[in-house]
Subunit: 482 residues, 2 copies
């Protein structure tokens, strides 16, 4: 039997936490005096009332939750947060479409960064802050999810990345999650603060610095400016953001080790090396290309290339240059990079470097097995043998990713979008990136997508964010049996 | 030690066989009196001289060949056939570019059907016949390769499809290959003859009937007409071609069983059912769509949809309607179908139905394993358990397919082609289909591709035709070691 009482209890608690976050927005809105203040107050009241009722009416000592409840809660929390989190957009009148508001909020909590607003700078500070804040909260949530909860649920080979952070290793979910979470959140908060400070020093104002450090560390990509980071014509600020996007796209466990001066563990991590290699190679190709084409100075070429490569690989989605207008090769590269994704255990989404690496290594072995059919050869990761079970799991993940991608491209095609736009929109939402190609390119918004399309793409964002399996399993009949 | 003497001997023999085929073209050219006669005669002399010299100078009793020699021969034979087979195009002056001639010939032998000729009907009958004939020969070769040779070499999980045709099962390559080949070629020739006859009855002239039955059974797609099958405005002829494309895309072992009235074996074949299901579903979607859009009669809608779906799924590449001008959803579907490919053991190329099916089943199991982590669940195919080794092999194949695809898209991007064209050209050549998207769409040719691009795409055709591994293994250092 599924313990629905406990599920409602936990969701109620989480809703109260969202209420607390909305409370912070009330203050921001009050300070900046925007028209959105009443909307935030109403949202705060609604959320705390419903959250409180759900939480307190279902309290009961000693009831525990199992795997099944875990899947249901994880599957529902992003939906619940988006349903309630979209209220400020609707109640303030910033948009009169519930669909748009939901899309924007899901885009926030999933750290996607796709927007339906065509004039971002017209939004009041409270709403701008809430957009950035949803991403930061989403990033916070995903670190716990990917490093503490998903490995226990056995999702998508994530066992491989179970926090090696020293700590209690008892099998009960609760103490481990709590402990791991506390350490990783600490790092997340520290990095966010440091980045904001560095940007303040670069001349960015407090509001923009806070918002952009939120959406950088979450690899979210919402900006307070219509032209994204292109607005800040400062090499210093762009380099700071490049650096922190790279940190945000790195496994937070590695950051933990780095902060404890255990650099060997960082450097010997296969995924981290692969991540740096991919970024390095493609930055190099594009910057050299820019220099050869003679479009701008060497420094500017390097910065533009590095910024966009890092932004896409880490699934952030910030933009300093419209990559659709680049020389075709470079546009194609940017598009292909959408399928790598950042590191596991980071706030980045997508397929993830470690999966690409494992599949690459396994495929190379298959080639060798052709020549030495009787030799025993095993895939290794961080010098350890990877069990075939995990390889199979990773393969299945990639297959589902591709299958969902292709199916969704036909869904977009059914709405009359051309191949570029269809492919771009799906890759950018499933991969939690934000800007795509064609009519959803880096200088466009998602406002023109029909209602059904927006709900569908919102679903893709959640699917991509929750490592596919977590959501797919809820649609499997076997899950509900017995 | 690699037995180069034996390799040269076998290649010499194969070249003599190609010379025999060219001899047939000499006759065709003579009968139709085209300007290409001297070119065919010269080619015949060159090929038989070189082939004869290679064959007779290296004859030696009792030398056997191993796996390594097998890979080298398979890798070289398509290149050799194309190098010599392109001579008639060059020597006749039909094209003054060796690159174009090589591309066209490789496109023939790999049954791709991509052309560099912009005015096909201006070609003399001899050359038209040679184009179709290269495809038919390629189809003949691929049946033996995929059902008799590759399984022994252990390539790409093809062990799974080893001919179940009753026959000698000794482990030595020679007798098995010979026996299997004879039976399957018989079927191939019978089908080709029956199709030609049916088209003659439909009013097609002898030359067109023979050429199109050649390129249908080979799932090649070269036509003697500029507007492909669209030229023949006859429902009867189009239905005949649909039927025979479907037969050509079916495992020839199943056709063997069907001809021996063992229909149960055909119907219980999982791949065959999946193949029919895919064709059925997408034909249905597109025809219903056409009817709703009200563009033509129900029959015409069904025929146009079925023709193009079957043509693409079987990697034939015939065209009766420019699918790029269809409603976007249908264009996208056609494009996605390029990645299925026909059945293993047929003349079709691409990823192949059985691989898609196995990956689908394995991924579904992974989802179930999340819920029942301790249950033992195995993928089944034709009611038998599939070993994890084969699953891993199939996964590696698909990974290499995708990796090569994406890498090649960037190569095309580097030549300045947009995303549609890059993706389309790569998908259509790697999948041995022919027409792609964008500037290499169904009403365009490949003539505008730069020289390097043509050689690169020719390489992709071969890679796709030889199940990737057969070629890739030659590039692996371990292959050449010891």
């Amino acid at each position: 039997m599924v313990n629905y009482r406990k599920i409602i209890n936990i969701l109620g608690l989480l809703l109260l936490i969202e209420g607390f976050f909305i409370g912070l927005c009330v203050m921001v809105s009050f300070v900046y005096g925007g028209y959105d203040l009443p909307a935030f107050i109403k949202t705060f009241l609604i959320i705390t009332a419903i959250g409180g009722a759900a939480f307190f009416s279902t309290r009961k000592e000693d009831s525990s939750i199992g795997k099944r409840e875990g899947f249901i809660i994880v599957g529902l929390v992003w939906v619940m947060f988006s349903i309630f989190g979209c209220l400020p957009f609707v109640l303030s009148g910033a948009t009169d479409s519930v669909t748009d508001a939901f899309f924007e909020t899901m885009s926030g909590f999933t750290t996607t960064g796709a927007t339906i607003f065509d004039d971002i700078e017209a939004l009041p500070h409270g709403l701008l802050f809430w957009r950035s804040f949803t991403q930061w909260i989403g990033g916070l949530g995903i670190i716990v999810l990917s490093l503490a909860i998903l490995p226990i649920l056995g999702v998508g080979g994530m066992q491989l990345f179970i926090a090696e952070v020293p700590g209690p290793t008892k099998e009960k979910i609760h103490p481990r999650v709590k402990d791991t979470a506390r350490r990783l959140w600490g790092i997340y908060i520290i990095f966010t603060g440091v980045q904001a400070l560095l940007m303040l020093l670069g001349g960015m104002n407090l509001f923009d610095a806070v918002n952009h450090s939120f959406t950088t560390m979450a690899t979210g990509g919402f900006s307070t400016k219509q032209s994204s980071i292109g607005h800040f014509d400062s090499a210093y600020i762009q380099y700071v953001i490049i650096l922190f996007m790279m940190i945000a796209g790195t496994n937070f466990t590695l950051s933990y080790f780095a902060l404890h001066r255990n650099f060997r563990k960082v450097w010997e991590n296969d995924e981290f090396r692969f991540y740096l290699t991919v970024i390095g190679i493609f930055t190099l190709i594009i910057s050299v290309g820019f220099i050869i084409l003679g479009e701008s100075s060497a420094e500017n070429s390097f910065r533009t290339a590095a910024f966009q490569v890092v932004s896409i690989v880490t699934t952030t989605g910030y933009v300093t240059s419209d990559y659709l207008t680049w020389f075709p090769l470079f546009t194609v590269i940017i598009f292909l990079l959408m399928f790598f994704g950042g590191s596991a255990g980071s706030t980045a989404a997508g397929v993830k470097m470690v999966r690409v690496l494992l599949i690459f290594r396994n495929s190379h072995l298959e080639l060798k097995r052709l020549i030495y059919p009787h030799a025993v050869m095993r895939v290794r990761f961080n010098k350890q043998v990877v069990s075939p079970r995990i390889i199979s799991n990773v393969m299945a993940f990639v297959f589902f990713y591709i299958a969902i991608l292709l199916f969704s491209v036909t869904v977009m095609g059914a709405m009359g979008y051309d191949f570029d736009t269809s492919f771009g929109a799906v890759a950018a939402t499933l991969g939690n990136i934000g800007p795509g190609m064609g009519a959803v390119g880096p200088v466009e918004s998602y406002s023109h997508i029909p209602v059904f399309g927006k709900w569908y793409l919102s679903f893709l964002m959640m699917l991509g964010r929750l490592e596919l399996f977590t959501v797919l399993v809820l649609f499997s009949p076997s899950f509900w049996r017995k």
